[in-house]
């Protein structure tokens, strides 16, 4: 149990990227009706952004 919790917290930034930033970005893009390249859907674009930003924060230890 402790190992599971520690693992969750260790991967916190990546999980936050996928769990929150991705759907947040997707819903913002949807509301803005922003044109997306390569025929991306808002959800896929959100997942790419969330995964990329989360990975950056995971590696760097900061969000910017």
């Amino acid at each position: 149990m402790l190992t599971t919790i520690k693992t969750i917290f260790y991967f916190g930034p990546l999980l936050f990227g996928l769990g929150f930033i991705a759907p947040l970005a997707a819903q913002i893009l949807e509301r803005l009706e922003a044109p997306l390249p390569f025929g991306l859907t808002p959800l896929i674009a959100g997942l790419i952004l969330g995964a990329a930003w989360g990975t950056y924060a995971q590696v760097k230890g900061r969000w910017a």
Partner: protein, 294 residues
């Protein structure tokens, strides 16, 4: 009285200054903080009400966002009164109310009561000590540096801010309380993720996630940085100062008179201005930095 009065007071023996200080403090102790109790329930209820109001379309999100931000900014102080047993001491009839407010009011801030209380007591014992004060990471060279410092302390691998509290709990032999923080974090992010993937990400961001970040900056600024700046001296009479805020006493959540709180922590927040003006010259005579509020 004036600064000249403080000069006269310096001629008195220290024991007499202490006696006068305690006599003034005693006039403000054991007053039931009705305002803090009302504040705790009204503030928490308002923040909770925003969710159904926004989800049902009764209140637009753009209007709810500043209200939520204000709610979370105001969420800490009622708990702070409870942390010092100001609402009700242990063993008294209303102790349950003290503890309820302590737990309830900081929920939007995702700060467990036991974590807040134990680390805050350490802050009082060791204010401005680089190793022992859990809030030492709030020290900064100026207002903008304080804001930037809080943003940096909120980063994943920061050792400051709320992240410093775990280290303090281990040092004082209460690592069990870290579990409270873990559960709060899991619940907070679990709710955020669930809302986000149910189609309410923008609502979750503007009713809780972003307001909490803004509130943390505000609370750190006025409760940690401003009253302890420059944060270089320790000792009860030197680790806290009075100051004048451009937003006034209400806009700075009563922290202009924080020196009173550090010297007499069981004086309710609403009584600290009166206690300060009655005690000011004694404090000056005892070496406090009260130059900010003459």
């Amino acid at each position: 009285m004036s600064t000249a009065a403080a000069t006269d007071l310096r001629a008195l023996p220290e024991a007499e200054l202490i006696r006068r200080e305690r006599e003034i403090a005693s006039r403000h102790l054991d007053k039931f903080p009705y305002l803090a109790v009302f504040w705790a329930f009204a503030n928490f209820a308002t923040w909770l009400a925003l969710w159904p109001l926004v989800f049902t379309g009764t209140l637009p999100l753009w209007a709810a966002f500043p209200i939520a931000t204000l709610n979370i900014m105001l969420s800490y102080l009622p708990s702070h009164e409870a942390q010092h047993d100001i609402i009700a001491k242990p063993g008294t009839k209303l102790r349950w109310l003290n503890e309820l407010i302590g737990h309830m009011s900081t929920t939007p801030l995702v700060l467990p009561y036991r974590v807040a209380r134990l680390t805050h007591m350490e802050h009082h014992k060791h204010a401005n000590h680089p190793e022992l004060d859990p809030d030492y990471s709030s020290t900064a060279t100026g207002p903008w540096d304080s804001i930037w410092g809080t943003i940096k302390n909120n980063q994943p691998r920061s050792a400051g801010g709320f992240n410093a509290y775990g280290k303090t709990l281990e040092r004082i032999g209460r690592p069990d309380v870290i579990l409270d923080g873990v559960l709060y974090q899991l619940a907070f992010y679990g709710i955020l993720f669930a809302l986000a993937w149910s189609g309410y990400a923008i609502e979750a961001a503007l009713l809780w996630w972003l307001p909490r970040h803004i509130a943390t900056i505000y609370i750190r600024f006025y409760l940690s940085w401003a009253p302890h700046h420059p944060g270089q001296e320790t000792g009860r009479y030197r680790d806290t100062r009075s100051f004048r805020s451009i937003f006034g006493n209400i806009g700075s959540m009563g922290m202009q008179y924080h020196v009173i709180h550090h010297l007499h922590p069981r004086i309710p927040l609403y009584r600290t201005p009166r206690a300060y003006w009655e005690m000011r010259d004694i404090l000056e005579a005892r070496g406090c930095d009260v130059g900010g509020l003459k």
